[in-house]
């Protein structure tokens, strides 16, 4: 009994140390790509901001019309005010203040607080929706490759059909039909975005299936489930990580774009929602549209840099 436990423990320990060694190896390769390291650093910063930021910033939904459209620190704008008593417009100079470092929006809400809570939304949407899409795509791809025959045929034709829909147009239709709640938007992105993963995983599984170690495992009596979970998926994991990293920016953009066209969750101040509201005040308050856009852009850029770096690092043929 004690022996068995020890065996199990040492096997877990061995597997962990070997995977740590692998992670270290890939990290050494990824590290050589400066842009990928920048991407990773920005993502880590963003995650930290999304987790702890909301505890330090003001309430993003607080409305204060006395402090509306204050520019970011270091900027000055002219605000014209209507005075009822004298029935005249007066122009007032407004300076950025440290109370609102990134300025305020048209309702007087603090931009910094909105950007920080928007980071939380974007990251959550990006991670969860990508997670759903990847898991679904992996299941369908592996199943298709492993079952073959009519199952493979049916699943791949279904993939073809979903793939023919332009991604964004399908998303618009689905969210329009089912209503814009954040949970549903995440689900909709996940349920429409799995097709690429399914195809890649299918071809990857087909090639891994024919390798000697899978034949050997089968000869030793491994069940189908064991082959899939112990051999197919672990060998495809680098591909899965790359697809995930490169899918997240598309998902974050999709959520922002949906919010931008008014199909976002109105109760959640995501970057897309802020951007949309800023589009109407370009001539009086440019920063409302500029700031969430910059964050969106940098986030997408960071994931693209990292994804590209990982792809090179995981590719045994490339010598980075």
């Amino acid at each position: 009994m004690a022996n068995k436990l020890l065996d199990a423990l040492s096997s877990v320990g061995h597997r962990m140390s070997s995977s740590m060694r692998l992670i270290n190896y890939y990290w050494q390769r990824t590290k050589r790509n400066k842009l990928a390291v920048f991407g990773l650093a920005f993502i880590v910063f963003l995650v930290a901001l999304a987790i702890v930021g909301p505890f330090f910033t003001a309430d993003p939904t607080a409305v204060n019309f006395d402090e509306k459209e204050i520019p970011p620190i270091g900027f000055t704008t002219q605000q014209s005010m209507y005075d009822i008593a004298s029935n005249t417009f007066t122009t007032k100079e407004v300076n950025g203040t440290w109370k609102h470092p990134l300025g305020t929006d048209s309702k007087g809400s603090d931009m910094m607080a909105m950007i920080v809570s928007g980071a939380r939304v974007s990251l959550l949407v990006g991670l969860i929706a990508t997670g759903i899409a990847i898991i679904l795509g992996t299941i369908i791809g592996v199943l298709s490759a492993y079952m073959g025959g009519w199952v493979d045929n049916a699943l791949m034709r279904f993939t073809d059909i979903v793939m023919t829909f332009p991604f964004f147009l399908l998303l618009v239709l689905v969210v329009f039909i089912f209503g814009p709640s954040l949970a549903f938007i995440v689900l909709a992105i996940g349920l429409t975005g799995w097709t690429g993963t399914a195809r890649l995983l299918r071809s990857e599984s087909l090639s891994i299936r024919t390798r000697e170690f899978v034949t050997a495992a089968k000869a030793l009596g491994a069940t189908d489930g064991r082959v899939v979970f112990r051999h197919l998926i672990p060998n495809a994991i680098s591909l899965i990580i790359i697809i995930a990293t490169l899918s997240i920016p598309g998902v974050i953009l999709a959520e922002a774009a949906l919010s931008f066209i008014g199909l976002g969750d109105p109760t959640v101040p995501s970057w897309g929602v802020i951007l949309e509201s800023g589009q109407h005040t370009l001539d009086t308050a440019w920063w409302i549209a500029v700031e969430p856009g910059i964050m969106l852009f940098l986030t997408v850029l960071a994931f693209n840099f990292l994804g590209d770096g990982l792809r090179d690092a995981f590719d045994p043929k490339s010598n980075v």
Binding site: L35, M163, V172, I261
Partner: protein
């Protein structure tokens, strides 16, 4: 041998496309039916707001749209109507959906056509240059810029262009002027910012695809052969390498149509107020005008389907090596 394999192949692709079309329509039908509110509900809310009796109106709508019939009858009616060109009635604009689309498609078409030309020509030129001068300073610059182009959200880019060129510099109107005649210089000028907005992401993508497709072929033995024959470098790159890189490139460009271009055009139209199909779908969302939203998605999907079919068939001409059984 002859051409019979080609005819068989075309027929096979056609049948396959019809199956996919059936699948698309069926999925759309199911989506609309399992939605929490039926099209009739949204129509009803609209009529009730104008003071109609909800009970009477419900019965009238259900009879009018055949929603009182069994589900399989509704399914066949839906399929039949779509094939006969009866795409429903848009109540927010008071005209048949098909008429609405006929008057607006040209705006989307001109935007997508001009952006694609801009992106494809410039993208391929930069891509070829980058590949030929691999690891040069310019190559690194273009690669870096293409990362930026891919990552920049296109609707935000549009807003930034409006902010800078229209609001600050006053060079362009902030909104697309729909009174301009389609084939005029003024219209072309009005489309400059929208084309940059939609084209930048595509351009960046094409630079990367062209570069990698060129690099794949540059190392092939036939290039060495061409060079050792004493062909001028221009001919080697243009006729030998680029020709071979073109085929995978066309596939990716066609694939982009569905995944990037249509979504991007939808958003670009909204940013600039161009009255194309994206804009009418956007307006229909707010008016709860069901048939229009469905129709725009279906049109985009069918264009992708037709383009895929055309690409597959044109391959057999573009690449004589391809023989499908």
């Amino acid at each position: 041998m002859g051409k019979s394999w080609l005819r068989d192949y075309v027929i096979k692709r056609l049948i396959y496309s019809i199956i996919i079309a059936w699948g698309i329509l069926t999925i759309t039908f199911i989506l609309v039916r399992i939605g929490p509110s039926s099209p009739a509900d949204k129509y009803l809310a609209n009529i009730a707001a104008r003071g109609a009796d909800p009970v009477q109106a419900t019965a009238a709508i259900e009879a009018r749209y055949g929603l009182d019939k069994p589900i399989y009858v509704q399914y066949f009616n839906y399929m039949g109507n779509l094939f006969r060109g009866n795409w429903g009635w848009s109540f927010s604009t008071s005209m048949p959906v098909i008429e609405l689309i006929k008057t607006h498609w040209i705006y989307s078409f001109q935007l997508i056509l001009l952006s694609s030309l801009f992106a494809a020509i410039l993208g391929m030129l930069i891509g070829i240059y980058s590949a030929v001068r691999q690891y040069s300073r310019m190559d690194y610059t273009f690669t870096f810029l293409s990362f930026i182009g891919i990552s920049i959200p296109n609707f935000w880019l549009g807003i930034m262009l409006i902010l800078f060129f229209s609001v600050n510099l006053g060079l362009f109107k902030t909104y697309y002027d729909t009174t301009l005649p389609l084939f005029s210089l003024d219209n072309l000028k009005a489309l400059i910012l929208p084309v940059i907005t939609l084209g930048t992401g595509m351009l960046a993508g094409y630079v990367r695809y062209t570069r990698s497709a060129m690099l794949d072929n540059l190392k092939k033995p036939f290039v060495t052969t061409a060079r050792s024959k004493g062909l001028p470098e221009r001919t080697v790159i243009g006729k030998h390498v680029f020709r071979n890189a073109l085929l995978p490139l066309v596939t990716i460009i066609m694939f982009d149509l569905g995944s990037i271009v249509f979504g991007g055009a939808y958003l670009t139209e909204i940013v600039f107020g161009i009255p194309g199909l994206g804009q009418i779908s956007f307006n229909a969302i707010f008016a709860n005008d069901y048939p229009v939203v469905v129709a725009v998605t279906l049109i985009g999907t069918f264009i992708v389907l037709l383009v895929n079919l055309a690409t597959d068939i044109s391959y057999t001409y573009l690449d004589p090596r391809i023989r499908y059984g």
